[in-house]
Symmetry: C2
Subunit: 347 residues, 2 copies
């Protein structure tokens, strides 16, 4: 940021030109190209001098002697920082497509990933909201048959969990009713973190002879909620990476794709992103900055959306370092606000 002033207007323009050209072509860009392209009328020789300076400062680098220059991670970083500072883009209409089947959040998010992938030509991922600090809205046990009861738990944001419990000894209807009362009055409105062993012990006590059942139920509840902890992640457009030669050699492709398949790594990415508190909710990881080792040759752009109740999810775009940051940032902002709008209307 400070670097920008220190750089001088002209150097900055040239750097900008180099990056933009490189984003389009993917080839190292030479001095002559810039000399013709940029509107400051300078000869290639002058550009060369400036380039030499920029290289010394670490903003660009040469793949080999007698090749043009390509932006370094540091160069990209400067460029992205500039873009981010730009005044909020006017948000134009988002694809209607997305709204069509918006009845189920799941569908909506899948669709979002797909639309985004189509729109940007990069690989995308969307995580379902993470239920941190989430509250229990409704809880109920019902008897399915003599041996099984089903526990249904509705969390804030209308996230539904359920779990079947196998009973050794049958539970009478009235006892079931009592148990339901007890659970609902006690647990309603509680956040998951607030449920601790002490509380469970107290409940067991109150349940009297059915303490054993309560134990089972809590196991089930814990289980059901825990399963949610590893949230769902939808991906789309993975194969877009084949469009960028620098990522599509066997080695890289394999790394990236396996990161996409075994969602473990993406989960890591989401966690990191959510942990970071940002004003705009948009983050850019360039190259080594990424939390996911497998993507060290990519750039990753993430945005956070909110569901109220402190539930947050993440949208991400993964592409080559020479990503069209301008377009990507715009698209993400749009989608982000779309999602926000939908979820808060739905509420």
């Amino acid at each position: 940021m400070l670097a920008r002033e220190a750089l001088g207007e002209r150097k900055l323009t040239i750097l900008h030109a180099i990056i933009k050209t490189y984003l389009e072509t993917g080839e190292p860009v030479g001095s002559r190209t810039i000399s013709k392209y940029s509107d400051l009328n300078l000869s290639s020789a002058t550009i060369r001098n400036e380039m030499a300076d920029l290289e010394e400062l670490g903003y660009i680098l040469q793949p080999h002697t007698s090749a043009g220059r390509i932006p370094s991670d540091k160069g990209y970083r400067l460029y992205v920082d500039m873009l981010m500072e730009e005044k909020e883009q006017e948000l134009n209409e988002m694809q209607e497509k997305m709204l069509e089947k918006a009845d189920k959040m799941e569908h909506l998010l899948k669709q979002a990933a797909r639309v985004l992938a189509n729109n940007t030509n990069y690989a995308t991922m969307v995580s379902t909201p993470r239920s941190s600090a989430n509250r229990i809205k409704f809880i109920q046990l019902s008897k399915v048959d003599e041996e099984q009861i089903i526990a249904v738990i509705v969390l804030g944001g209308n996230v539904i969990k359920n779990k079947i419990i196998n009973m050794e000894e049958p539970l009478s209807n009235e006892n079931l009713l009592k148990l339901n009362m007890l659970l609902n009055t006690t647990l309603n409105g509680m956040s998951i973190e607030e449920i601790n062993l002490g509380l469970i012990a107290r409940l067991k006590e109150q349940a009297g002879i059915h303490s054993e059942v309560v134990g089972n139920v809590f196991d089930a509840v814990a289980d059901a909620i825990q399963v949610d902890e590893d949230m769902q992640i939808y991906t789309s457009g993975t194969t877009n990476i084949f469009k960028y030669p620098e990522l599509s050699d066997k080695q890289s492709a394999q790394e990236i794709i396996s990161a996409f398949e075994e969602k473990q790594q993406l989960t890591e990415l989401v966690t990191q992103t959510l942990a970071q508190e940002e004003n705009t909710g948009i983050q850019v990881y360039i190259g080594d900055e990424t939390p996911v080792q497998n993507m060290k040759d990519c750039s990753v752009v993430t945005a956070t959306y909110e569901l109220g109740d402190g539930m947050k999810g993440t949208i991400g775009i993964i592409g080559p370092k020479r990503m069209d940051y301008e377009h990507v940032l715009k698209s993400l902002k749009r989608l982000q606000s779309e999602l926000d709008a939908i979820f808060h209307k739905q509420e």
Copy 2:
């Protein structure tokens, strides 16, 4: 099958040798190799003659003049048919690993896909059971708050569906109770196919002033069940295809991986597989035989597992045509019977 007799013992042995060698090396195999490898002591020249015959018959082919031979799809087919006919392999112990976290079917199936991928070094997929001819075991509406009620539906095989219904006008507790009674007594034990418009109309009538609610409920039920129709598919080891040069050029890799990502195509595969009624429940698609166009350069081996209640799911292995069929068939059979055992014990 008939072809086998028509082929003659020696030609068959040679074909067998060619395929086995090719499976190992992935390189076209020449006459000299076979001459040394096989136990029938024949000179390369003789082998060459036989090979020429085999080629004319379409069992093997030359990638180009002056290269060795590789098996054609027809050749593979003959080979696989032979393997399939072999007496049931003795089933040795399956990895304990799989059984550990067997509490949730979902987990189990994911694990199964992963184990299989590790075990075979091919890409794998597992579909959750499809609820064809499935019956309703339990249905219940509960009030979450004044504006929302939740419908929980348990199907045979303990598949749980739920759906939140937004109400325009509040529903009293007693009416809810009545409605629950009505739904349960009427729908319990019914298969999804049996629910038709006539029935719905009759129910609406019986519900009296709440006919409108009933309509909503049925929409919800239909919706919840329909969503199940596009079953879940878990994949694993997609990147294994990079281990096989013949599949890892950009073109092929992209096709296969995108088939794996957009599950649409796999769904097609599963549907096809389930439609086919086979005695052993194992099917092999070689090259063009596959229902999934994107996999025309692969072989696909699928097995069907059962859950009782007529619910069936599919396990699939996708790899190069020069797949180690022997190993794959054995592994699949093992896994198949493991799953069967688990599910029928759990029942």
